[in-house]
């Protein structure tokens, strides 16, 4: 009950003051636990100009358990799995790292920061991480292509 109240409060707050470049909606009106976030690709990154849909699923136990993020738009990034789940590997979203005081707005800010500055040492897609480290030019090229292709 308190979780639901907190989600409602957080949703109201995030509507009032959304993180930069994010538009947040509910996926459907009845369910407060699934948020639909449309995130602009951060400037000065190969993702500029793209619109990435991220689905944030809040568990029943929220805020005591971390939310689950998944990219609905395909994105060429070392920290985002290249499958239909599109899970992003973020330290703060791990179960033992999650702290109940964390807010979704903070999570989204972090997501955007990671999108702008990939962390190849924390990568889930090792191939892309290798490319990012050794051949940054071609990584940027592919990322731009994917952005143009999928994130319109």
């Amino acid at each position: 009950m308190s979780g639901n109240k907190r989600i409602m409060k957080e949703f109201a707050d995030i509507q009032k003051d959304p993180p930069p470049g994010c538009i947040i909606k509910l996926l459907n009106e009845e369910d407060m636990n699934v948020w639909d976030v449309v995130m602009d690709g951060p400037a000065d990154s190969p993702y500029t100009g793209g619109k990435f849909t991220v689905q944030v699923t809040l568990p029943k136990e929220y805020p005591f358990k971390p939310p689950v993020l998944s990219f609905r738009t395909k994105v060429y990034h070392p920290n985002v799995t290249n499958d239909e789940r599109g899970a992003m590997c973020l330290g703060m979203l791990k179960a033992d790292e999650w702290k109940p005081p964390n807010k979704i707005a903070e999570v989204l800010r972090l997501v955007r920061a990671v999108l702008a500055a990939p962390q190849p040492d924390d990568a889930v897609e090792s191939g892309i991480a290798e490319q990012f480290k050794n051949d940054n030019k071609s990584y940027e090229k592919v990322a731009k292509e994917w952005t143009a292709k999928y994130a319109k």
Partner: protein
């Protein structure tokens, strides 16, 4: 009971509600239920006259009342669980520092962690550290700074924080049901338990166990049915007020667009027709105008909008188009029926045309009278003469019927009427085939015709078509027949010419022989007479040979004549060969 007037009832309720409010503190301060008050406020006898027996009886009653009071209090507590502080709505915005980082509400029973001095609600930190969510078990790190922490004995926060929190003003948790109260958070539990008119309590009636809102208590037991004065819906009195506020179709509401007062059930009509402030689409919306506007603006717009002015014309056009399409559909259906009919007719005709090849030979032995009509026409002339053939068709069936009955290959003409189509039947080439076939066809086709005249006309038309087809078939048969006879004639003619040529060669040889013989005889006759006898015998030999040859040639001619006679019927067509002969 059913004619209980609601308006009066409600005003009464309002009054009694106010009274209930003022009385409520008295009830609770004396900690006595209403039944007790009634009891104590109606002393039957002055205390001075009270005997010991009376005292004991009174005490017994008092104890009974008290136990009943405690039971009812427990029940009320069940009906009204303690207020969840986190679900309260705060009237004024509060300082963000008073917010628990976990539940994002102003702290409820705040605690301070011993190591890092971070502050949380007691429930929140317990829940965070509970085994369900925390692998470390019931104690762990500070959720904010991850300092290992625990809840010590002296973890309670200072009184000043608690006081600040308790002074925050909240709305009554029953504000959605209508309670207008706004109280300090520290007093909200008391408000709900003691003052709030919307708190559910036990019915004051002794024999009624149903819950009732506190403000309705002075009205006594309300758990009997009534009928709404306006809409005649049956419901309990305790629900009457809510019914009036939210569900009665006769309740008064304000139009959300134009502030006109109207009853609920008029709302739909008002929205559809009258509300001047409602945004309505242009009348030409169906034809592409995207303009919308308030009703009064929409009228001026529709005077100026081309699409709106053309809308009736468009509508008429559309209707006409629809009608045409429907008519076309009907026509297509009719056409299908016709095509089916003709297909079946054609199949009827196709079967016999296969048989026509077989019956060709029979046609050669037909009586001359029957063939006369067909024979008089050459193949080329058939197309032109098909018309007159059609015209006298109706009589032909009757005309030919006697001969038809005598002809072995022909069935007797059937009386007109439906005839089973699958009956195997040799093709006759006669016109009476059509007559029995058609009525059955027309019977299946009767539906689409509007009048008998139309029916007859269409039948006539189809008969005419049938006639032309049959005559064409006839012409084909005749052509085939004449070709056959021509071929036969040719062969015979060739044979005859061959025989004639042989005969000519033979006669030439004979002539040569005779002439050479004669030449030989003449010198002999002039030179030696005695050879005369033998010569004359030679001559007689010659003549006998010649006679034999002549007889042979005559026989040949005779055979040719016979052949000609056998082909007598075809003689007209083989004039060329005859002239050669």
């Amino acid at each position: 009971m059913s004619s209980f007037p609601p308006p009066r009832h409600i005003s009464q309720a309002g009054r009694s509600h106010a009274r209930g409010h003022s009385l409520a503190p008295n009830f609770t301060s004396s900690a006595l239920p209403p039944s007790n008050v009634r009891h104590s406020s109606s002393p039957n006898a002055p205390t001075s006259e009270m005997s010991l027996r009376g005292m004991s009886r009174l005490e017994g009653q008092h104890a009974m009342d008290q136990s009943r009071f405690l039971a009812s209090k427990a029940r009320v507590k069940n009906l009204n669980p303690p207020v969840d502080m986190r679900l309260l709505d705060y009237v004024a915005p509060y300082d963000g520092n008073l917010m628990c980082p976990i539940c994002r509400c102003p702290f409820v029973d705040p605690v301070i962690l011993t190591e890092c001095d971070h502050c949380f609600c007691r429930d929140c930190i317990r829940q965070t550290w509970s085994a369900q969510y925390n692998p470390l078990g019931p104690r762990g790190d500070c959720p904010t700074c991850r300092t290992p922490a625990k809840l010590g004995l002296r973890c309670a926060t200072s009184k000043i924080l608690v006081n600040i929190l308790d002074d925050l003003v909240v709305k009554c948790p029953r504000s959605e049901e209508g309670c207008p109260a706004e109280v300090k958070r520290g007093e909200v539990q008391d408000h709900v338990n003691i003052y709030c008119g919307y708190t559910v309590v036990n019915c004051p009636s002794d024999d009624c166990e149903l819950p009732l809102r506190r403000k309705d208590m002075p009205k006594g037991c309300l758990h009997h049915g009534v009928c709404c004065f306006e809409c005649r819906e049956e419901l309990q009195i305790s629900n009457l007020e809510r019914h009036w506020q939210s569900s009665c179709p006769q309740r008064t509401i304000n139009c959300e667009f134009c502030d006109v007062q109207l009853t609920f059930h008029e709302r739909e009509q008002h929205m559809k027709d009258a509300c001047p402030a409602l945004s309505i689409p242009c009348p030409g919306a169906a034809f592409g105008c995207t303009s919308r506007g308030r009703r009064e603006q929409a009228e001026t717009h529709s005077r100026n909008c081309t699409l709106a002015r053309l809308a009736p014309i468009f509508a008429a056009q559309k209707q006409r188009l629809d009608e045409q399409e429907a008519a076309q559909k009907a026509m297509a259906h009719k056409l299908d029926i016709f095509q089916d009919g003709f297909a079946s007719l054609q199949s009827l005709l196709c079967d016999p045309s296969d048989g026509a090849g077989l019956t060709n030979t029979q046609a050669t032995v037909e009586p001359p009278g029957r063939n006369h009509r067909g024979r008089s026409h050459t193949m080329g002339a058939y197309a032109g003469t098909a018309e007159p053939l059609d015209l006298d068709f109706p009589t032909s069936s009757a005309q030919w019927s006697p001969s038809a009955s005598t002809a072995p290959s022909r069935p007797a003409p059937n009386p007109p009427g439906p005839r089973p189509r699958d009956l195997p039947e040799p093709y006759t080439g006669d016109f009476d085939l059509a007559a029995p076939a058609f009525p059955s066809h027309s019977m299946t086709q009767e539906m689409p015709y509007t009048s008998p005249l139309h029916h007859l006309l269409s039948m006539h038309e189809s008969l005419r078509d049938e006639m032309s087809r049959i005559s064409a078939a006839l012409a084909e048969v005749d052509g085939r027949l004449s070709m056959q006879s021509l071929n036969e004639n040719m062969r015979t003619r060739e044979e005859i010419t061959y025989l004639g040529a042989q005969l000519a060669g033979l006669s030439r040889q004979v002539h040569w022989l005779t002439s050479s013989q004669l030449q030989r005889q003449q010198p002999q006759g002039a030179g030696a007479r005695p050879a005369n006898g033998s010569a004359s015998s030679n001559v007689s030999d010659m003549t006998s040979v010649e006679a034999a040859v002549n007889a042979a040639s005559n026989g040949l001619r005779g055979s040719q004549r016979m052949a000609n006679g056998g082909n007598g019927m075809r003689r007209g067509l083989s004039e060329e060969g005859r002239t050669k002969l």
